[in-house]
Symmetry: C2
Subunit: 152 residues, 2 copies
């Protein structure tokens, strides 16, 4: 349902959320998220174009979030790479239908609405703030070493 | 969220649902669904591979549903071209996580579950059986001429 690009974008953003304000080098993002380097470069470019991250080139460079992880929803990340679109008018252009959708497109629009509601309420901070259970991108050893605190 | 292929597959199946048991010529499917012919051929091939439709070549040929429209859910159609997959194990292969998903992948899996539930309960017959309002693929003039009866 979600593209590889969406999955990778969410992983990259979850990783950056562990280090708010810090520039994380691209090779580190690639190894932590297990995303191929060239693919990651494209994903980071899309996230940067959507102003969710900003980058700095050269030695000591990398990427960081432009806002605190408490203020970035999963929907914003998804929309930066593969937007979830509501269906407002008949996709076939039937003028009779207009915004009075047929049962097929009404069902598809309901699905889009559900997804928007599902992902707009979850912030990056919600993903990484949990103390118990699995943590995004981290095995237990790495999770134990993480000292990043997330505002609740 | 849904690919062009998924949209086109749903349109083609909705059209065939108006004519259960009848072979509908491919050019008619193309014009009624407003799907480009070469793209449609690929979509029909996928639906045929999933045994949702069967085709007959040559004069008088075309495609028809393999089951009554009351027995084909929208989920089956979607799964034939771009399956909605649950996330059962950590996509990063973190052995610590296994089936104990992190909050990111748990949310993504919940979304997949919601979509499966949403589309598994709607049959093709539900789309075209409605007497009032917009009907899939049809403007008012065409809808008035349709004599196909759908079992309720």
């Amino acid at each position: 349902m979600f593209s590889q690009t969406t999955e990778y974008a969410l992983r990259a953003m979850a990783l950056l959320a562990y280090y708010p304000g810090e520039l994380v080098p691209t090779p580190s993002i690639a190894s932590e998220t297990k995303v191929p380097t060239t693919y990651l470069a494209k994903v980071l470019q899309m996230l940067s174009s959507a102003n969710l991250i900003s980058g700095k080139r050269g030695v000591g460079g990398g990427y960081r979030l432009t806002k605190p992880p408490e203020q970035i929803s999963l929907l914003e990340v998804i929309d930066a790479v593969a937007p979830i679109r509501r269906i407002n008018v008949c996709p076939l252009g039937l003028t009779d239908h207009g915004s009075n959708l047929c049962p097929l497109h009404r069902r598809m629009d309901q699905a889009a609405k559900m997804m928007i509601e599902h992902f707009s309420g979850v912030m990056l901070a919600d993903l990484i703030g949990q103390k118990e259970g699995s943590r995004p991108l981290c095995d237990k050893v790495k999770a134990a070493k993480l000292t990043v605190s997330v505002k609740k």
